[in-house]
């Protein structure tokens, strides 16, 4: 069976949609068809991929406009007569063809204060109940495909927000650390002030595209918003800080690289 693909080809400068006809077999996914296209017609077609098993999060792209992993998108999803359109993730700058520059995400990751356990706990001495780590574990299923970052409307068409907004993946990272039973830092104020939690208006687009089915909005972002409110506006917390029973300030966000 032949399928029709319409693929964005080009680089940071400019590009066009190019049509291809490629063989597709039963049970295949988009990435199989792209590989066949590379091997037979377009040897230099740039596609980022690695595990082809939905575990590494490399082959993120937009398939008929929807952010998806090419390795987990089965051909049976489409009408055989349909032309399938493949474009690079729109939120990030294009490097070439279907490959984008996702360095924004690595920069944000580096600004979040790292895991901070009590330094007096020795090797092998951590004791945590399964029920207390379930939530952090859910967030750690994240394969960093950055599809949630791609789809989030706060930055999708608003690059001006990128400085003030870390995106769902990294707000979830903050939630993961905040909910880690052995972490001692406090990131609630910086979640709001430095990472832009307030920009999120819980439209759940991130949750919808997550290939790991992580409930980003319900389990990470909304609870995090509640914690921030508790930290910033709860009179008891305010009093606690005043009389020195609670830390006054968060662990500071790590400055982004200069230049």
């Amino acid at each position: 069976m032949k399928v029709e693909l319409r693929i964005w080809r080009g680089d940071a400068g400019q590009g066009t949609l190019t049509d291809y006809q490629v063989e597709a077999n039963e049970g295949e996914v988009i990435l199989d068809v792209l590989h066949r296209l590379q091997a037979t017609q377009a040897g230099d077609l740039a596609v980022r991929w690695n595990c082809k098993a939905g575990k590494c999060g490399s082959c993120s792209m937009e398939i008929n406009g929807r952010p998806r992993l090419a390795c987990m998108t089965r051909m049976s999803l489409f009408d055989p007569a349909e032309t399938i359109t493949l474009t690079p993730m729109r939120t990030f700058p294009v490097i070439r063809d279907l490959v984008t520059d996702v360095s924004f995400n690595y920069a944000k990751a580096r600004e979040i204060p790292s895991f901070a356990p009590d330094p007096s706990v020795g090797l092998g001495e951590f004791r945590m109940q399964q029920v207390d780590v379930n939530r952090s574990q859910e967030f750690r299923k994240c394969i960093e495909c950055f599809l949630c970052q791609d789809t989030c409307h706060v930055i999708r068409d608003h690059p001006e927000n990128e400085r003030a907004f870390a995106g769902p993946r990294f707000l979830m990272r903050i939630a993961e650390l905040e909910m880690h039973p052995a972490d001692t830092a406090d990131r609630r104020e910086i979640a709001q002030d430095d990472f832009g939690l307030g920009y999120c208006n819980i439209t759940k687009c991130c949750t919808e595209v997550c290939p790991e089915n992580i409930k980003i909005t319900d389990n990470a972002l909304i609870p995090m918003k509640e914690r921030v409110v508790g930290r910033k506006y709860d009179p008891l917390v305010w009093l606690g800080a005043k009389i020195g029973r609670r830390p006054k300030h968060d662990t500071a966000a790590v400055p982004a690289k200069k230049g």
Partner: protein, 633 residues
């Protein structure tokens, strides 16, 4: 060389998987300026695909476990061909390395008393694998990635630049190591994004490039596994050890074809899943080899009792080491008792409640549901063997991880020796941590020795840089050459069909003749397009490495006239104590692979004493055995 970037580091780590990141962390902790070269983006390395867990005798689930038991299991799994010192260091140090990950933020599954939970796995006497559901590799890579970030944050505070002391070069590939006389001087490569060349001047290089899966057609390995480190080591004058031992993991998806080779974790069997043939029989009971007879159940009733009461029952034969299970599945399919798509059935649906399957094996559920429309809580999976791991690799000193070339270190799957002829599941993730750290320490100590000796650092020669650049540019400049994808596919086909899971002299000889012709063709491919992010060019460059490795595997497979672990010779089906004493060493003679035999060093007496004499008799020759009357304590 105008367009070439030139950078100066103390240590260059090639590979950003588990062993590479662990090595880089250690080198940076020792105060060395460290570069990490990643063929993919940071955090995407093949380690993310590891599912089952990291083996470490912490004794959290069964307090009887300790390093001696782990050492014994590892040697048995490798059929005593392991470098025993590596197996010893691994078993002793694995618990600390796993606990260290926890202190760096890894969130493992817990026991009821709040410790790290441990699960059963093939060949391990006690529950030993620290795990996070069936995505342990992802947890490990993310934790190491986040530890690198934490160190960069510390460096930002001290130096004003997060990348002052440790920097990750994402989507960068090294094509040549640079030497100055007998010593390492650096590395040459290209940056994927723009195709520009980059030279790293560094006296210490750590190879952490993983395996060789893309030499074979059906493999669970990712795109990156083109044997880069193996080949770079050979080209720099180092030696490879026992390359004939290739692990075919028994259970991978066989259908749909596009996902053939996708791993089905051994945890399915560790957590109660069983293998059945088309007649519904649990055929593994018929395949327990003599050397393992005493440790495995003989009836289904005993095997089923073992999960709840492991002290009074023997293990189910589905949990034999991987080589045994893979060969058994192969034999069942050959005998016409396979599943519709040429595998066998792996059944957990009829044995465990759906809720438990979903909790313990979420990725497997997801994978089968999304890619094959199979609900593993309701129906059996169809599985079969695929290439999964290579036991052979760079010959290193166990304690310092240095290769036979000064300044060249290696850790993880790219090394040989640790796993002997067959690796136990779970021993890879712990191997990466133990020897990644040791390689980082070894490189740091080497740098200190160099500094103490004074004199100039080793320096790359301009002629070598020019040659490396010309070699890399050749496929782009050549016109009318063959398609690199085609040549790659033919190498894979040749290796899978002629030097695969079952081997014979005439077939290996045919393979070597085929490879000879393919070598000519690999040298004449051309890549269309430019140097910026051009996959065709990358495949063309990978072909040199894949060819070299295929040659090593085939030559060693022809030489070793016995069957052991990941090397099965149809024409020499027995395991030979004489051959156990032999290591096969590959090196480069001009541009050809040369093979020689090297005697195995005898095991230290205190380690030998951990085994019963009766068990040792199955593996060792008479002169190697301890004097009669000495028994294991």
């Amino acid at each position: 060389m105008t367009d070439t970037e030139r950078l100066c580091y103390d240590v260059v780590v090639i590979g950003a998987g588990g062993s590479g990141l662990r090595a880089a962390i250690e080198a940076r902790l020792a105060g060395k300026k460290t570069a990490v070269i990643s063929k993919s983006l940071f955090g995407k390395a093949h380690t993310v695909m590891a599912e089952g867990g990291a083996a470490a005798a912490m004794g959290n689930v069964n307090p009887k476990d300790n390093w001696q038991v782990h050492f014994r299991d590892t040697m048995r799994g490798g059929k005593f061909l392991n470098n025993w010192r590596m197996a010893e260091l691994h078993a002793r140090e694995a618990p600390d390395r796993v606990w260290e990950l926890e202190a760096w933020g890894a969130v493992f599954d817990r026991t009821p008393d709040g410790k790290i939970s441990q699960r059963n796995f093939g060949g391990h006497e006690y529950p030993r694998l620290a795990h996070v559901g069936d995505r342990t590799g992802l947890e490990m890579i993310r934790t190491l990635q986040q530890k690198v970030v934490a160190l960069q944050q510390e460096d930002a505070a001290v130096h004003g630049d997060p990348e002052a002391m440790i920097k990750v070069f994402a989507e960068t590939t090294i094509t040549r190591l640079l030497t100055d006389g007998e010593r390492i001087a650096g590395a040459f490569g290209y940056i994927r994004e723009n195709g520009r060349f980059v030279v790293f001047d560094a006296p210490a290089v750590i190879l952490a490039t993983g395996g060789i899966g893309k030499t074979f057609k059906v493999t669970s390995n990712s795109w990156e596994y083109t044997g880069d480190g193996h080949a770079l080591a050979l080209l720099a004058g180092a030696t490879l050890l026992n390359m004939e031992f290739v692990q075919f993991h028994p259970t991978h998806m066989v259908w749909p074809l596009s996902v053939a080779g996708l791993l089905v974790t051994e945890s399915v069997r560790g957590d109660g899943g069983v293998l059945r043939n088309s007649e519904g029989n649990r055929f593994m009971f018929g395949y327990v080899p003599d050397v393992f007879r005493a440790q495995y159940a003989e009836t289904e009733e005993e095997a089923d009792r073992w999960y709840a009461d492991p002290d009074n029952n023997r293990r189910p034969p589905e949990l034999l080491p991987r080589d045994e299970v893979a060969r058994s599945i192969n034999a069942e399919v050959k005998a016409g008792r396979g599943s519709p798509h040429g595998g066998v059935f792996l059944d957990i649906a009829s044995r465990r409640p759906a809720e438990e399957i979903l909790r313990k094996l979420p990725s497997m559920y997801h994978q089968f549901k999304e890619l094959a429309d199979v609900d593993i809580t309701r129906e059996p999976m169809e599985v079969g063997p695929a290439q999964h791991y290579v036991m052979g690799g760079v010959e290193v000193d166990p304690d310092t991880a240095v290769s036979s070339v000064a300044g060249l270190f290696a850790a993880g799957e790219v090394t040989g020796g640790m796993h002997g002829s067959n690796r136990l599941g779970g021993n890879s993730l712990s191997d990466l941590l133990v020897f990644g750290r040791r390689a980082g320490m070894g490189a740091a100590a080497y740098l200190d020795t160099l500094a103490a000796a004074g004199g100039a650092r080793p320096a790359a020669h301009e002629a070598d840089l020019a040659a490396a650049q010309a070699e890399a540019l050749a496929p782009l400049q050549r016109t009318g050459g063959e398609n690199p994808y085609t040549v790659h596919a033919e190498i894979q086909q040749t290796m899978s069909s002629l030097v695969g899971i079952i081997r014979r002299e005439d077939e290996i000889k045919t393979a070597l003749a085929e490879l000879e012709k393919l070598r000519e063709r690999a040298g004449q491919v051309s890549a269309e397009g430019g140097a910026a992010y051009n996959p065709g060019w990358h495949v063309a460059l990978d072909l040199r490495n894949i060819m070299l490795i295929a040659d090593c595997v085939a030559q060693a497979a022809l030489e070793r006239q016995e069957s052991r672990g990941g090397h099965t010779r149809d024409d020499f089906p027995g395991m030979s104590p004489e051959w156990r004493k032999v290591n096969l060493i590959c090196s480069l003679d001009g541009d050809r692979v040369a093979l020689r035999r090297q005697p195995m060093i005898g095991m230290r007496a205190d380690l030998l004493a951990l085994f019963d004499r009766a068990e040792l008799e199955k593996y060792l020759t008479d002169p190697e055995l301890p004097p009669a009357g000495q028994e294991a304590s």
